[in-house]
Symmetry: C2
Subunit: 333 residues, 2 copies
């Protein structure tokens, strides 16, 4: 049996808190025996929790007074709301009581809090937000997708190396690392890309395949796509927004008249089959890499299934020794 994995869970973040978080936690405990959860929430969460049947040694509740809202200024909220569920859960990792942190709350507060409270591995300059995105050739990692704007070339090189460490056990082969660029030619790019390109070429521990254009990302042009957080965030959200718009248009077309409704009923099974690999629910959440512990940010709209998967994902992260691998190979030892 594998070692115990302890996760600090913020019950109060996200659109469906605390109900979805509690349901997800209870389900995750059933699916994996090596999981232990310490969860943080207010009176409402405590009451909700009483409705469920679970092992109190494996799901421990700690009451917190404050809640950080989605629209609060991240750094201010972290420094002022010291008794919030989000801050207390992060501290639980900082103090070594938990291996990992999961929250669907205020993105900025999670990304800032991860670096400020849990802290970075010695030698890691910036901790990127690294969501797995589905592509035509399987999962790919996009980093940094939102944590560190105005990066320098040395940051991007660390992102590339950490991304490869993370994706190796996921893909069970050497990941192809690409840098996001304006064109496929090597001489294209802004100042940051031009400075980073030769450094990535020299990095001996990654398989650097050169420039990747965003239009080729959905088709699996690279397994790890490196960029700074402003552009990475724009790419991630454009993927999401475009897919959402097309779903809306498809739905509208399918419901527009009787003929379409009948047709839709006939094509839906195949359509669902084709799209099932693009369901981001199964990835649960996106990790920040390079911290002294794992911090997973689940989508604000997460339901119980996403939270369950985010919790189970922490077990893989621990068993694959991602943290140790980053510390020993990329950090300063």
């Amino acid at each position: 049996m594998s070692e115990e994995t302890k996760v600090a869970l913020d019950l109060m973040g996200g659109d469906n808190a605390p109900k979805a978080m509690i349901e997800g936690a209870v389900e995750a405990l059933k699916e994996n025996e090596s999981l232990k959860i310490i969860c943080f929430g207010n009176d409402e969460a405590e009451k909700e929790l009483e409705r469920f049947d679970f092992d109190k040694d494996r799901l421990i509740f700690r009451k917190t007074a404050e809640v950080i809202a989605t629209d609060e200024s991240p750094v201010k909220a972290i420094s002022e709301k010291k008794d919030s569920s989000l801050v207390m859960a992060l501290k639980c990792v900082k103090h070594g009581e938990a291996d990992a942190f999961v929250s669907a709350g205020n993105s900025g507060a999670i990304l800032a809090g991860g670096q400020i409270i849990i802290g970075r591995i010695k030698g890691i300059k910036r901790a990127p937000f690294a969501p797995i995105i589905p592509t035509d050739k399987g999962p790919a990692l996009l980093l940094d997708a939102g944590a560190n704007v105005d990066c320098r070339s040395e940051n991007l090189v660390q992102f590339a190396r950490m991304g490869a460490v993370y994706m190796r056990p996921v893909l069970k082969r050497e990941p192809r690392v690409g840098i996001l660029n304006l064109g496929a030619e090597d001489d294209k790019g802004n100042a940051l890309v031009k400075e980073t390109f030769p450094l990535l070429k020299e990095a001996s521990d990654i398989d650097f395949i050169g420039s990747v254009e965003s239009r080729d990302i959905p088709f699996g042009a690279a397994d790890v796509i490196v960029t700074e957080a402003f552009t990475g965030n724009a790419v991630l959200k454009m993927y999401e927004g475009t897919a959402k718009l097309l779903q809306k248009l498809m739905k509208k077309a399918f419901l527009s008249n009787i003929k379409s409704k009948i047709g839709a009923a006939l094509v839906l099974p195949s359509l669902k089959e084709e799209l099932k690999n693009y369901d981001t629910k199964k990835y649960g959440g996106a990790p920040m890499l390079g911290l002294n512990g794992l911090a997973v940010k689940a989508h604000g709209s997460s339901g119980s299934e996403e939270i369950k998967n985010a919790l189970l994902q922490c077990i893989d992260f621990k068993n694959q020794h991602i943290l140790e691998s980053i510390r020993d190979n990329i950090g300063i030892t």
Copy 2:
């Protein structure tokens, strides 16, 4: 009758050159009497042209010896291939012989050539590439989508103002101008956005609506979206790539079995109806704004319809006095 519009057309650029360019030109002449085309191409193009019937006073051929390929280094190609169709067509605008330039060739060469050969309006620091993108609420303008990386805040402010000048006659109302950002909150952003934000707030000639997240662009969150070229290019190509992937998956689902094929036949008319507003063919090409003449970059895969529409688009640009409006209101007079 409106004044004559003269367009310099590069016959040798793009995947379907020179045939699609010639067909597009001949069709455009039929659709609008005020159009005159001066086209540039090699022996092959001249031969192809002989197969068509057209008014030789309105479609003038000029033979050029060289062709700039898609994968050539842009600045090098422009300075060395002085007798190429692309360079000769640009010079035709520079010398005032034509009002506008159209090419589906080497993007980098068009974007660099526009600024180097045609030249910028006095006072305009950078000339952005400004494609119209379809959204759920109608056309929107994204700029800069690929011409000027590593921009400064003053460049972005000019992009915003030029974008508004361009979109006013298209929408026939005051365009809502947004700046691309990581989140909707005003205090988010990288250094460039934080510096640009207050300047856009102060600009009295635009309706600045604040930050726009890329996920909301397909839903029409703004009519003009301002960003620097590296991120703008990534957003544009992610829109394209995601739509392409979803089309591929839909097609695969529709053809997967007999039941789906029947269903597809029933839903296709409604689906086409819903998607018709997202057909980028009708926009023809994307302009560069701020030059002493119009330069339109058509997609590399353009067929005759796109080229025809790109040529007709030049007539609107001239009749709406976009160039004069930018020169008098934003340039130094």
